[in-house]
């Protein structure tokens, strides 16, 4: 099957293909802009959010701000992610308590929902000395199948979602009841709230990013131009007790998704390895042939 006659061209072809794909990926990954903003506010850091880490839940939401510069424009659509680290959303005890059948209609009492990430962000751009809000789209951040099929609110009782949720306790850590999530928007409240759905798709690894908002509307439909920005954070999610960090990430996306140098490099390495092997094989092949010819002579 794999004689030298087939294997040698195969290796070279594979190698070249690998290099080509690798270069493509590497180039694509290079064009992607990404900005990481840590706002954990560790106690002895002079971060603005540090004061919020001590605030108790009773004193109400703690607001902190973060100013940053974009040296180059981020072409749209720009995604706003939050990232948590050392957060074991994939812990079995954490995930095992959920019950998806409840999420399509019945009340619940479970850890995933209870620990819903509840920091909120708003973004402003400095235009002519004043900060203009950047419109953040909260829709379309979850899988379409999740928000439209898998997660369903209970049947309305007397035309009211609140009555449908009557008698169910709100998750203890939540500031408000489920039916009050994004209260203004009836299509984005209760179980079908997209922030909630995104949170419910448990992450694979202890350091994970989740899509928060997307910037693709209004003046910013072409992306974020370079300049100064201010991120207002409604800080209420404690991460320091488990030595975690919180970050906000602004990232553009391409056909390959977000920035990831790994895939490109892996392809380049694989391609080079193939070609290298091809050459070694060729050398061995030629050597054997010469030997045989010498034997014949």
């Amino acid at each position: 099957l794999l004689s030298a006659g087939i294997a040698l061209p195969l290796f070279f072809a594979l190698g070249l293909a690998g290099l080509a794909v690798g270069l493509g990926l590497h180039f694509s990954s290079g064009t992607i802009r990404e900005l990481e903003l840590d706002y954990t506010g560790a106690p002895r850091s002079n971060h603005d959010c540090a004061r919020c880490t001590n605030a108790s839940a009773t004193s109400g939401p703690c607001l902190c701000t973060l100013r940053f510069e974009l040296a180059e424009p981020f072409p749209g659509p720009v995604c706003l992610y939050y990232q948590l680290s050392n957060y074991y959303q994939n812990h079995r005890r954490y995930g095992v308590s959920r019950d998806d059948l409840q999420l399509s209609g019945d009340p619940w009492g479970l850890r995933v929902a209870n620990s819903l990430f509840n920091d909120t962000f708003t973004l402003h751009r400095l235009v002519n000395g004043s900060f203009m809000p950047v419109p953040l789209d909260s829709r379309g951040i979850s899988w379409w199948t999740d928000s439209n099929v898998k997660f369903r609110n209970p049947e309305l009782v007397n035309g009211s979602l609140a009555t449908a949720f009557w008698g169910t306790a709100k998750p203890p850590n939540w500031p408000c009841a489920a039916y009050l999530l994004d209260a203004g928007n009836p299509n984005n409240t209760g179980f079908v709230n997209e922030d909630f759905i995104v949170w419910m798709r448990t992450a694979a690894l202890p350091t994970f990013r989740k899509l928060y908002r997307r910037v693709h509307q209004g003046n910013f439909s072409a992306g974020l131009p370079h300049g100064t920005y201010r991120l207002d954070i409604n800080y209420s999610y404690p991460v320091l007790p488990f030595k975690g960090t919180k970050k906000v990430i602004l990232s553009t996306v391409s056909w390959m998704g977000g920035k990831n140098p790994f895939l490109g490099i892996a392809y380049l390495v694989f391609g080079s390895a193939c070609i290298l092997t091809g050459f070694v094989m060729l050398a061995v092949h030629i050597k054997y042939q010469q030997q045989n010819q010498m034997d014949e002579d």
Binding site: H91, R93, D100, R111, T145, M256, G258, M281, V284
Partner: protein
Amino acid sequence: MCAGEEKRVGTRTVLVGHRPVSETDAYVAQKFCDNRIVSSKYTVWNFLPKNLFEQFRRIANFYFLIIFLVQVIVDTPTSPVTSGLPLFFVITVTAIKQGYEDWLRHRADNEVNKSNVFVIENAKQVRKESEKIKVGDIVEVKADETFPCDLIFLASSSPDGTCYVTTASLDGESNFKTHYAVRDTTVLCTHEAIDSLAATIECEQPQPDLYKFVGRINIYRSNQEPIARSLGPENLLLKGSTLKNTKKIYGVAVYTGMETKMALNYQGKSQKRSAVEKSINAFLVVYLCILLSKATVCTTMKYVWQSNPFNDEPWYNEKTKKEKEAFKVLRMFTDFLSFMVLFNFIIPVSMYVTVEMQKFLGSFFISWDKEMYDEEIKEGALVNTSDLNEELGQVEYVFTDKTGTLTENSMEFIECCIDGHKYKESISEVDGPLKYYGKAEKCREELFLRALCLCHTVQIKEGDQVDGLIGHLEHRSTYISSSPDEIALVKGAKKYGFSFLGLENDYMKVKNQNNETERYQLLHILNFDPVRRRMSVIVRTITGKLLLFCKGADSSIFPKVQQDEIQQTKAHVDRNAMDGYRTLCVAFKELSQEEYDQIDKQICEAKMALQDREEKMAKVFEDIEANMHLIGATAVEDKLQEQAAETIEALHAAGMKVWVLTGDKMETAKSTCYACRLFQTNTELLELTTKTVGHSERKEDRLHELLMEYHKRLLQDFPKNRGGHKRSWMLNHEYGLIIDGSTLSLILNPSQDSSSSNYKTIFLQICLKCTAVLCCRMAPLQKAQIVRMVKSTKGSPITLSIGDGANDVSMILEAHVGIGIKGKEGRQASRNSDYAVPKFKHLRKLLLAHGHLYYVRIAHLVQYFFYKNLCFILPQFLYQFFCGFSQQPLYDAAYLTMYNICFTSLPILAYSLLEQHINIETLTSDPQLYMKISDNAMLQWKPFLYWTFLGAFEGLVFFFGVYYLFQNSSLEDNGKVFGNWTFGTIVFTILVFTVTLKLALDTRFWTWMNHFVIWGSLAFYVFFSFFWGGIIWPFLKQQRMYFVFAHMVTSLSTWLAIILLIFISLFPEILLIVFKNVRRKAQEHPLSSCSLKLPAITAFLGVNKSNIQIENQREVGAEGTSRGHPSSPASCLRQHHPYPNYPIHATNQKCPL
């Protein structure tokens, strides 16, 4: 009046027709079992518990049951369904299979048990169901009916009190056997008459030997002393055999139901287990260790990790109340069990099912093989067990019988000598008249021919066609006998004018040269037995003369005749033996009436004995057959089977050692060995026979001297550092050993026990260093002894026994693999064998092609199964390091369950059934390939480690490849994120594709079926994933997989990653294949390779071809050159032993006839 008086325990007394015979003798009513045959194992009621119990006795099933129970009891990461479903599947399939088989057995039992039989009760014929027969019932059986139980034959419709029986369904012998009614009850052939019989039967308790029966009947008549008659196997009609050519018979039931000899014979065939299974178990232990260490590592790491309180119980993930309250040790234990459950898939349930299916289905390839189909007997190979298929590829020692195995066992009368004169038909006149050489006296010639006509147990089977002419009947009849030699002799006598016409009312009819029919009353047959190696008949001529004719092996006849007669015949016999003919000597003696009366009494007494009858008979026979006069000898040729020599040579070239174990005499066996190239002309023969050892008192010392001498010689030839070349063929010398039965027993059972074991080991060392060993004059048990001896040597080599006769059964059962030849000596060998083939030559394909392939297939199957489960579970293990050692499964439960059952099972099954990594023709023609897999080469630790490393490498690639892929914020072009189930699904997809493609890379022989299952499995995986993720399943608590797969395939990055990781995983494998190909190509180069190619064959073709005698004219395969005029070694030897011209003794013996 002869009556034995022994009444011992271990006999049973049967009242014929349940009638008490006398008031004085109080018989304790014995209880016997009823006539129900129960071959089924289960009933409707006990099927479930009994079957389950038996299935869970298997260690693997039990393991999975434990895992399942742990899952049910302990809170484990995967649902009990994941291991319960496969286990349930396996158990159900096995139970259904066993249930079906048992149902068939029930049906067969019922057919037998409910069949109608006729029992005589109160002089009336009563119809009964077979199962209602009780011991003591008188049963009537009509022609072509099967005997419902073991019966003592009382009376028959034929006036001479005989009946014909065929035992085809018992031992496969289709010839008619004559059975004899008890002499005194022969006349009782009506209902009334038989009902008046008052008799008791004493006989031994049931025992399985079909050919042994000892009993006595006491017949009571009013006011008379009871008459006692001996009963032997000839009076016993066995259940399962069929009545032929006899209208009806009456018999009394002695053994019923499960105590019949047939039922006893169906039990107790021990299960043979193959070496591969031992390897599997060893690997299993390794994987169990891996499993345990993984679980231990994870448990330890979990508690180390949890020692940080922020890891142990972060605010978002509080412990349950139960968790908080449990003791720490208990928690650790449950954690350990949970990890065990999580990783338990590393030991696959399905492997056992697949192995079983592979063996079961694979064995059909042997029985379907058209090349092993024999036109003559219209049968192909037979597989009695499928457990040993792969063992056929591992054989190191082949023990073969000679007669009927290496040779055709179709005997042809070649020549005879009478008083030292040679009589041989000229070839030109095949059916010509007798050539009188006029050397011996005419009356001696006639005596000799009459002896041939009378001294045998041949029967005449009359054909259906009778050419009826008025007053002249000519029967188209054939001779049948259990011994082909006898037929050859009778046919030989016919050629010289004396033909045997058959036995009629104890009279043997012989037509002499003048077409007159002579009648001889047959008084006694002293049957052949392998110890005496003789048989005799005592007849009375019309004139009232009493004659004993005896024929047998020369060694057993010569001591029994006048010593001065031996010389002239011996020369003939020796020369004939050199030529490879089977020789028999014929002797006679005349008996006076007094002598005969004495003999008659002795025989009668011996026959009456209930205990040790055989020994007593042998003793009596020994005494009778003495002081005889030698008349002459016969030579019968046993043709070599076609391709016997080529087959032996191929087996040699394949590194197997061939031992011939035969009951035949040394000279005959030796010449056969030369003819079939077991010994070559340059083979140095070491002889340990009575000839070299001698008969003297000092024979044991002499034997030890010889042993030491041979041992020294062999040691010089085999330097010690040759250890690695176990099957090397580059020896300076080839040694062959010849040993005979008596010398062997001297070695194995020495008289004085000092240092005897030492000699035994020396003998064994000599044996193992010889390329060929010939053991002649072996008793059946000695054959088995030899096999056992070799089997238990260091390294326990795999042995194979092949034979065709009942005397080979013991060695067939003893060896790892027993092969029966469907020969002429009945079907006992093939019944007891693991595989049966029509001819010896089929052994070549069976071992070199089938055995090799089965071994490679199953070895690959086993390694592949372990490999694919290692790379299946390793990512799951690694994932624990990233999920806080919380036993979070990486894959969805459906994937965990289906991986081994659906996604990856069929391709390997198809591979393990169809793979031919080298095509069959090459395998058959190049025996050296067989050596490549010797010593279980593919299941040694080295290949196992290779596969394990491959699995580990791929597991690492899968996991870390996807891990680094997930460092990305998003893999979709819309910025949405994937969760942990997508992570697992990507790994799983790469896994399924990689292991399937790896198998595709290993597949050398593609059939449409391979294509279908390999690509079908992958397509099924994709289809299933879409389907599984496409529906909200109402019975699932969590819809983890909802649209996960569909989302995954929309991501280009994921596609690229999957393709890349599959390539990287397969890269080492491809590299290895290519390097192997390059190297092989270099080796296949003509100049560098020809010196390696088949040294044995080429050496043979060059040197020995023209010197070897092959009986059947064939072309030597490889070179296509035909042998010119063979000058056999035998014919060379003939010149050294010129035909001696002994002066004709003036015989002063009278012609008795």
